[in-house]
């Protein structure tokens, strides 16, 4: 390619990157305008706080997924993992009530258990796929089934319910507010900021980009590819455990239907946000916006009679496809390229 040709090519790629960066934000603005037009209640403090709180679960998981996907991997097990960790937390806390009572200690130990399980489950996904040289898609498809059936087993096919008194202690983690902002939203914000710093400003994040772009180049650049990839799954597991910690006090229960399809929503949020599914390029803020968008769509459908709420999945699916199509930027490029 000649230097002139190169200049032309880079000019067009610069344009598409701008589009990539702004696209999800623009789409979110459009959704908010649409929501306001449909129903005045949309912009009310209560409704907005509701949207952001609900977006927090998927959003936190999706921040972890951004690392995995940027480094060229995929994790399908996050929904089952969330259900399993929820179940395990409830079982542990219910058992501890007998000895420690329904106080803060019980909840704290439950939280510690959640974090240990999240890191452990992530490490299993990462180590089996890297050391075992099995594709992450297969490994996490397997662990998805395993975690799901473990929670079904723990609940004996039914529902695990958290001890009523412990619920009282634990409640503020979901229902509480700080400076008028719901706790889950604050946690979401903190996870997103930490994720942004880690992915965009540290050597670790740079290595994730490199591995996702070309594993061979990473290997020839003295990067411990297996180690970094395993770490991305551990981060994913940690994010799932954080999401679970704020999810459990919401309903105070876990069953085999907890967290169903969360993996797909998380991946959707990541992709809408502009991260490339094949790896090598990831954006935490895009992911955050993606998660908020998905929740907002559901919310808007609740507020209007124009489209049935049962079509929520269809609208989300459509938006995912359109978002990726727009980001690719091919639609405006001429044949001669």
């Amino acid at each position: 390619m000649s230097s002139l040709e190169r200049r032309a090519a880079s000019a067009s790629s610069r344009f598409s990157i701008d589009f990539k960066a702004l696209g999800p934000f623009l789409a979110l603005v459009v959704l908010f305008v649409l929501g306001t037009a449909i129903n005045d209640a949309f912009l009310s403090g209560g409704n907005l706080s509701n949207i952001f709180t609900r977006a927090a679960f998927i959003g936190i998981i999706a921040v972890g997924a951004t690392f995995v996907i940027t480094a060229g991997g995929i994790d399908l097990s996050v929904g089952s993992m969330a259900a399993f960790i929820s179940g395990a937390m409830i079982v542990v806390m219910n058992t501890l009530v007998e000895t420690l009572g329904p106080g803060l200690e019980t909840v704290l130990i439950g939280i510690v258990v959640s974090i240990i399980l999240g890191i452990g489950a992530g490490a299993v996904n990462g180590l089996v796929s890297t050391k075992g040289k099995i594709e992450a898609f297969i490994v996490t498809l397997g662990t998805m089934g395993i975690y799901r059936s473990l929670v079904t087993y723990m609940a004996d096919g039914g529902t695990l319910s958290l001890d009523f008194e412990v619920r009282g202690t634990y409640r503020p983690v979901y229902y509480g507010e700080l400076l008028g902002i719901p706790v889950p939203v604050l946690v979401f914000l903190a996870v997103a900021i930490a994720g942004y710093v880690l992915l965009n400003m540290t050597p670790f994040g740079r290595k994730c980009f490199a591995i996702g772009s070309n594993e061979q180049v990473a290997r020839y650049s003295a990067i411990h590819v297996d180690r970094v990839k395993t770490m991305t799954y551990v981060i994913q597991g940690l994010c799932v455990s954080i999401a679970t910690i704020i999810y459990v006090p919401r309903l105070g229960s876990a069953s085999s239907s907890t967290g169903v399809l969360w993996e797909l929503e998380a991946i959707a949020a990541v992709i809408i946000g502009g991260t490339m599914l094949k790896g090598g390029y990831g954006r935490i803020w895009g992911t955050v916006v993606g998660a908020i968008m998905l929740t907002t769509i559901g919310n808007i459908l609740n507020l209007t009679d124009a489209i049935s709420n049962y079509l929520n999945g269809a609208v989300q699916g459509l938006i995912i496809i359109v978002a990726v199509f727009l980001q690719r930027g091919d639609w405006r490029r001429k044949k001669s390229k």
């Binding site: 230097s3 200049r7 880079s10 050597p203 772009s213 020839y220 003295a222 001669s336």
Partner: protein, 517 residues
């Protein structure tokens, strides 16, 4: 290039004009890359297209074969104006382009690739017997000893090239365009390819041959067209131009000195000593010493084990035995990280596959290998930018735009960036594998002078190359490998093509190793 090839030049200029490009201009967006270029391809003639990277050669051949449409000007085929809607239309008229980057489906077999999209059928079903027989015939014609049932991914790069050519032959190409076909071929394979090209020429095929290698153009081409900066410079019979003429026309100035002037000092201390290193199935009992400030060449045919040996030294490949000493003290190198800490750096020959992140810009590429230098907790972007500034200056990287993706760079600029990347680790020993593959002559000379600068500063270089002139022009000593062994280390007057070939083919150099120290 052997003598036989040089003598086989066909001085006769071919028959009638088959395909012409008339006053072709091409712009990509606001950038014009071709200016009024005209070219005629004659039946029964090999026409060479010569030019530096970025001169517009690839764009021109893509227009001739229908991959691009010209912005202005047009094509004339057998006296009638034509325009190809796409490359399929071009192939329909017998114009076939073999790309520099091979286009084969890796998971399919040789025969499936040759007939991809044009499968021979009997009724509704594929006629595998017929396809296999035809594939076999084509490969035999090319003296290519490959089973048509082999999957492409199991073939060497040079065999893949032969499959591409077999595919073109099976399409009954009568205007064949070859874009740097010999970049990945060994000397013997080049000979076979040239025999095929000559055979096709005798059959009246019009051939357009793109290459950087002036020897090859002298050997195979009848006529040569030189492009520079998107403009037609000259079209002359090859016999009327010397290699120096061609180089000058291509670069637009005299290349005063291709190779740096270096003084070798074999009494300098030994900085690296490798003893009895083996890699299962690839390298056996390799031993050699490297002196401070020395360029040690490694010659050998493809598959002799040179790259495997180097990758074993830097910890990228498992070795079954062998010791490595740095400055007289044994070192343990189990990973590339260890090699880096021991001051050894490796420049891969596969700059696109293992060297650079093509979808990223220069900055992350430059600092990737030495990332810890730019901050252990937070990467210091300012320091990275400063390093990039220095590297662009020091290695003369000519990028129109800092933010451009490295994949869009010319081969020369990619190679300079890769060199800069490796030098960020400040190594004492630099192992360079095929430093100038697919790079134009001006940039080549620059890279040779960078290597000269390194040794002037007391660094040592191991050079792996299949290009004889750079091997001879740069190396103080030349180790030759054949079938996984070092068959000899040539010094002084023994450093000549003849001795290298004798050792590389195993005529010279006995079992074991003859290390001249």
């Amino acid at each position: 290039m052997t003598d036989a090839a040089v003598h086989a030049v066909n001085p006769g200029i071919g028959g009638e004009v088959r395909l012409s490009g008339r006053k072709i201009c091409k712009s990509f967006g606001p950038a014009q890359v071709l200016f009024d270029v005209s070219i005629d391809l004659h039946a029964g003639e090999v026409h060479a297209l010569l030019g530096e990277n970025g001169a517009g050669k690839s764009t021109l051949v893509k227009i001739l074969s229908g991959y691009h449409e010209p912005t202005e000007g047009g094509l004339v085929l057998d006296g009638a104006e034509v325009s190809f809607a796409d490359s399929e239309a071009g192939e329909g008229h017998g114009v076939i382009l073999i790309h520099q980057e091979l286009n084969l489906a890796e998971q399919l077999t040789v025969e499936e690739n040759i007939f991809l999209g044009r499968e021979i059928k009997r009724g509704w079903f594929l006629d595998k017997t017929a396809m296999r027989a035809e594939a076999q015939r084509l490969l035999e014609q090319l003296q290519c000893d490959v089973d048509p049932r082999t999957r492409i991914r199991d073939l060497s790069v040079s065999d893949r090239q032969m499959v591409e050519i077999a595919k073109a032959l099976s399409k009954k190409a009568d205007i064949l365009i070859l874009d740097e076909p010999t970049a990945v071929l060994t000397g013997r394979e080049v000979e076979i390819l040239f025999d095929q090209i000559r055979r096709l020429r005798e059959q009246g095929v019009a051939i357009l041959y793109i290459s950087h290698k002036l020897d090859e153009i002298k050997a195979i081409a009848d006529r040569v067209t030189v492009l520079r900066d998107g403009r037609h410079i000259v079209t002359e019979p090859v016999v009327d131009l010397s290699k120096d003429d061609m180089a000058r026309l291509m670069v637009g100035r005299d290349i005063k000195q291709m190779f740096p002037h270096r003084v070798s000092d074999t009494s300098a201390p030994i900085v690296l000593s490798v003893r009895d290193l083996s890699v299962p199935g690839q390298v056996r009992d390799a031993s050699f010493n490297l002196h401070k400030g020395e360029v040690l060449g490694f010659a050998g045919i493809v598959g002799a084990g040179r790259t495997a040996l180097m990758e074993a030294i830097i910890g990228l490949r498992e070795r079954s035995s062998g010791t490595i000493e740095r400055n007289g003290a044994p070192v343990r190198i189990a990973s590339l990280q260890d090699a880096k800490n021991s001051g050894i750096a490796y420049l891969t020959k596969d700059r696109k596959g293992s060297g650079l992140l093509l979808n990223m810009d220069m900055r992350p590429n430059l600092t990737l290998l030495a990332l810890e230098k730019f901050g252990r907790v937070i990467v210091d972007r300012k320091a990275e930018e400063a390093a990039l500034e220095k590297a662009i200056e020091a290695f003369d990287i000519r990028a129109a735009d800092r933010k451009a993706k490295v994949g869009d760079f010319s081969g020369g600029n990619q190679q300079k960036l890769l060199l800069a990347k490796v030098m960020e680790t400040d190594p004492d020993i630099v192992i360079i594998d095929e430093p100038t593959r697919g790079i134009d002559i001006g940039t080549k000379s620059q890279i040779y002078h960078f290597i000269g600068d390194l040794t002037d500063r007391g660094k040592s270089v191991i050079l792996l190359s299949s290009e004889m002139p750079e091997m001879l022009g740069l190396s103080d000593r030349i180790a030759v490998m054949a079938a996984g062994r070092i068959t000899g280390i040539l010094e002084g007057n023994d450093r000549n093509e003849h001795e290298i070939m004798r050792h590389a083919t195993g005529i010279s150099g006995q079992e074991g190793v003859s290390v001249h120290e």
